[in-house]
């Protein structure tokens, strides 16, 4: 009898302890429930750094957005909005620095949840009827799928589109649109058309930063001749996402060898995936990837080395073992300890190939999607559309805003100011194709094709691209 009581007591106690412990949700332990004190302690530093809060610059709620004005007026105090995104740890602090000023100015309670296994958890929540009010998404293709399924609220139905048209160039509005309505609000831009190089070694050897493709290839040859090292660091391994680096190269080159309309037709499948223009881009790419002695570790390394480790040989103590690494601006987070962006390695713009196509920029970015329609949710979306919203993150670095009303001097130091300058200088901007195409291709067969192509050391180009063309879903 006493044993039973013991078991019952233990069970009861564990229930109580479980209830009193902090609840953790979702795929990671990055939940942030936002009671006022929580937000304060984690983001006090950020809040103090920003010189603007949402209220200040808009002196008494005079923004061009009606719901935001009402919110600033205190109309929605006490309401709750849930936000999901894939930003965790360091980046989570960044997004919180954006959301906290809004909370303080409007009294709306924002619950932000950063999820590690974002795709899976978001799908489960949406299918289970438990969608967050606002969710971040990196792939416009996914956003369009949600929109087609009727899960999203069309922003263009209620938001001040005149202001949006003023603040964002048409490309960004189109990227967030599905069948004429805008469902996604662009928030964060990511530039890919940059090549990192070792600053000191360049100076020592007296090399000049290449400004055209031919100069880039010539410089690569010169490095081989002068040092015997492989001039390029390239690698793709990323678990089930292996292959996206290759897709970035194809897209960036295609923008430089064909008109932007060709790129758009390619993404929309109005021309076949293996159109001769695309195969021509693949030719240029082979010049670098598959020339003997160009890539560190050869094609084996491309498939076997983790993307975060690609640039490590550049910092080797005996001098760079590879000299060029084309990768987006977040790569410094993966560099070895003690290396600094701008000091040990800086970047130059991925050079144009054919002069008539100017300076195209390939990028990616994050949009906000809206699942539930309530006035306070509208207010938050409008807030995120303003230039002020992103300012705390801009000042923290690693953030480029697609909002053209953001003054360039907010960008402070390297690398942000240079990135912003490239963005401003671009003749064309296009979004990463593999994120925009249907998922079966963009994250399925296109990635696989890159892997197979590399494994074959650049042979069978036509077959590889044909396979992708064949895999395009019928609808």
């Amino acid at each position: 009898m006493s044993k039973r009581w013991l078991i019952a007591t233990i069970a009861a106690l564990s229930l109580i302890v479980a209830a009193c412990a902090n609840p953790t949700e979702g795929g990671g332990d990055a939940t942030t429930t936002s009671s006022a004190s929580d937000e304060e302690t984690t983001t006090t530093a950020a809040a103090e750094e920003t010189t603007t809060t949402a209220g200040e610059s808009d002196s008494g709620g005079e923004t061009p957005y009606e719901h935001l004005n009402a919110a600033l007026n205190g109309d929605y105090t006490g309401t709750e909005v849930t936000v999901n995104a894939q930003w965790i740890e360091g980046e989570e602090e960044n997004i919180l620095s954006v959301l906290t000023p809004f909370e303080e100015a409007t009294g709306i309670d924002i619950t932000y949840e950063g999820l590690t296994d974002y795709e899976t958890v978001l799908t489960v929540r949406v299918e289970g009827g438990d969608a967050p009010d606002i969710a971040q998404i990196a792939q416009p293709g996914k956003m369009r799928q949600f929109a087609a399924e009727g899960q999203l609220v069309a922003l263009s139905d209620w938001i001040n589109m005149d202001q949006i048209q003023t603040d964002y160039i048409q490309s960004f509005i189109d990227l967030g649109s599905h069948e004429g309505d805008m469902y996604g609000l662009f928030f964060k831009g990511d530039l890919k058309s940059i090549v990192w190089y070792p600053v000191q070694a360049f100076e020592d050897a007296g090399y000049a930063v290449p400004t055209t493709w031919d100069e880039l290839v010539a410089l690569s040859d010169q490095i081989v001749a002068d040092t015997g090292a492989t001039p390029w660091c390239v690698s793709m391994e990323h678990g089930d996402a292996t292959g996206w680096v290759g897709t970035d190269w194809i897209e960036d080159i295609l923008l430089r060898t064909a008109a932007p309309e060709v790129y758009d037709q390619w993404v929309a499948h109005e021309i076949p995936f293996n159109d001769p223009e695309v195969l021509e881009a693949a030719e240029y790419m082979s010049q670098i990837w598959f020339t003997d002695g160009y890539v560190y570790g050869g094609n084996t390394a491309i498939n076997a080395t983790f993307v975060g480790d690609t640039q490590t040989p550049m910092f080797s103590a005996d001098g760079p073992e590879c000299w060029f690494h084309k990768q987006a601006a977040w790569i410094p987070d993966f560099w070895p300890e003690g290396t600094e962006a701008g000091v040990d390695s800086a970047f130059f713009f991925f050079p144009p190939i054919e002069a008539e196509f100017g300076n195209p920029v390939l990028g990616a970015g994050d949009q906000w999607m809206m699942f539930n329609d309530r006035p306070e949710v509208r207010a938050l979306v409008e807030f995120l559309a303003t230039a002020d919203a992103a300012r705390p993150w801009i000042e923290r670095g690693g953030f480029v805003s697609p909002n053209s009303s953001v003054p360039l001097d907010w960008y402070g130091a390297f690398p942000n100011n240079e990135l912003a300058a490239i963005m401003a200088n671009a003749d064309t901007f296009r979004f990463d194709a593999s994120d925009t195409m249907p998922a079966e291709v963009g994250q399925g067969s296109f990635w696989q094709a890159m892997i197979d192509w590399v494994a074959a050391n650049g042979e069978g180009t036509e077959d590889v691209f044909q396979t992708v063309e064949d895999s395009w879903p019928a609808s």
Partner: protein, 391 residues
């Protein structure tokens, strides 16, 4: 109790007692339902407390809660206690009244109803969480994404799927055989070791870690670095140490499959060994001695006498490991993500479901796995019946 006396209320069928207990049972059910509804609503506890305070005249407290809200920890404590009362107490009351109701019912009804009272909750849960998803999956595979024809023809004819099928076959054959054979070998050998428990622990240990944990460990075994750089992978360090070029194990097709299967064998061998070791110990010594007297060699002894007598255990182990390997996902997902020709069905199901949002195709894959596992389950159950376990 006057149960069996003639003319008692008992034999008059539905009696007052039945009605009373029937009502009590329904009341318990209603209260339980209300309790669950309250627990699901986060505001309800607060409102309950406020009304409680108001009722008992503690106006000040009630006002304070209205203004500032309850402190998180305190609310959770109250919720936990309330949950205990509703959950444990409610179920207890439900079963007690239910049982009393059945006691108060006429005899034939009693006999039939009693077992149902106790298994009904479990059946409801199983129904909701097992049967309904099963039916729904089959339905999705037949109706979504272009229907039966497109989904199932995708499963069997798509080139990527054919690679996955081939890989699953490899996993099943090599993984199962490897685990059972090596497990049997260890079981036979460990029998004669002095510190048997010690040795067994080491072999069994991998089973205790998750498949993901095992995959991370083996990732560091298989890591590749270009020739000339420092090899941080165990295998490559040894391989280059004896003067060879480093080998990218996970990217070399098709051998990478075998390196992945090795991980599964590493995990499952412990299970096979433990079960087979117990079975080996159960072989009657008289049998072995009689065979020895009859002049059997050690090999003949093992293959002709011992193995047949542990046949049941071998089948159990084989079918269990078979089912585990059929579902393999973690190892492939973590190590290669299905790239480099290592795709397996479960991994593809995940991609179709969450990455491509093709619910029809994902469901079709799940149904195919289900169909493949049915014959194995039949063998397993038959085997268990033969061994006298269960009815």
């Amino acid at each position: 109790m006057s149960k069996d006396q003639p003319g008692s209320s008992h034999e008059r069928g539905l009696s007052r007692r039945t009605l009373v207990w029937g009502l009590a049972f329904l009341l318990a059910l209603t209260l339980l339902w209300v309790g669950v509804v309250i627990l699901l609503d986060p505001e309800a506890i607060t409102r309950m407390l406020v009304s409680f305070y108001r009722l008992t005249g503690l106006e000040g407290q009630a006002a304070a809660i209205d203004e500032r809200g309850l402190q998180e920890g305190f609310t959770r404590l109250i919720t936990a206690v309330f949950a205990l009362i509703v959950g444990v107490g409610g179920i207890w009351v439900l079963f007690t009244t239910g049982n009393a109701l059945i006691e108060a019912s006429p005899s034939p009804i009693r006999r039939h109803l009693r077992p149902w009272l106790f298994i009904l909750p479990a059946m409801i849960f199983l129904g909701v969480y097992l049967v309904f998803p099963l039916v729904e999956t089959i339905r999705l595979s037949l109706l979504e994404d272009g229907g039966f024809a497109e989904n199932y023809s995708f499963v069997f004819t798509d080139p990527a799927m054919q690679v996955a099928m081939r890989n699953n076959a490899l996993w099943l054959i090599i993984g199962t055989t490897g685990s059972v054979v090596i497990g049997l070998l260890f079981a036979a050998l460990v029998d004669r070791v002095k510190r048997e428990a010690f040795a067994k622990t080491f072999i069994f240990l991998p089973l205790a870690i998750s498949a993901v944990g095992a995959s991370v460990i083996w990732r560091f075994v298989y890591v590749w670095r270009p020739e000339g750089s420092e090899q941080i992978g165990l295998l490559n360090a040894v391989w280059t140490g004896i003067g060879n070029e480093p080998v990218p194990f996970l990217q070399t097709m098709p051998w990478n499959n075998f390196f992945l299967i090795l991980i599964m064998i590493w995990i499952q061998t412990g299970f096979a060994m433990v079960v087979l070791s117990a079975a080996l110990k159960g072989v009657p010594t008289e049998l072995v001695e009689a065979a020895r007297i009859d002049g059997a060699s050690e090999r003949q002894l093992f293959f002709r006498v011992v193995l047949p007598s542990i046949r049941g255990a071998i089948i159990t182990v084989t079918t269990t490991i078979f089912i585990v390997i059929l579902k393999v996902f973690d190892i492939v997902f973590v190590m290669t993500g299905g790239r480099f020709d290592t795709e397996v069905i479960a991994n593809r199901m995940f991609s179709e479901m969450f990455r491509f949002r093709n619910f029809g195709k994902a469901s079709a894959l799940a149904v195919v796995l289900l169909i493949v596992v049915i014959p194995i389950m039949v063998v397993n159950i038959r085997n268990m019946r033969r061994q006298g376990v269960g009815t």
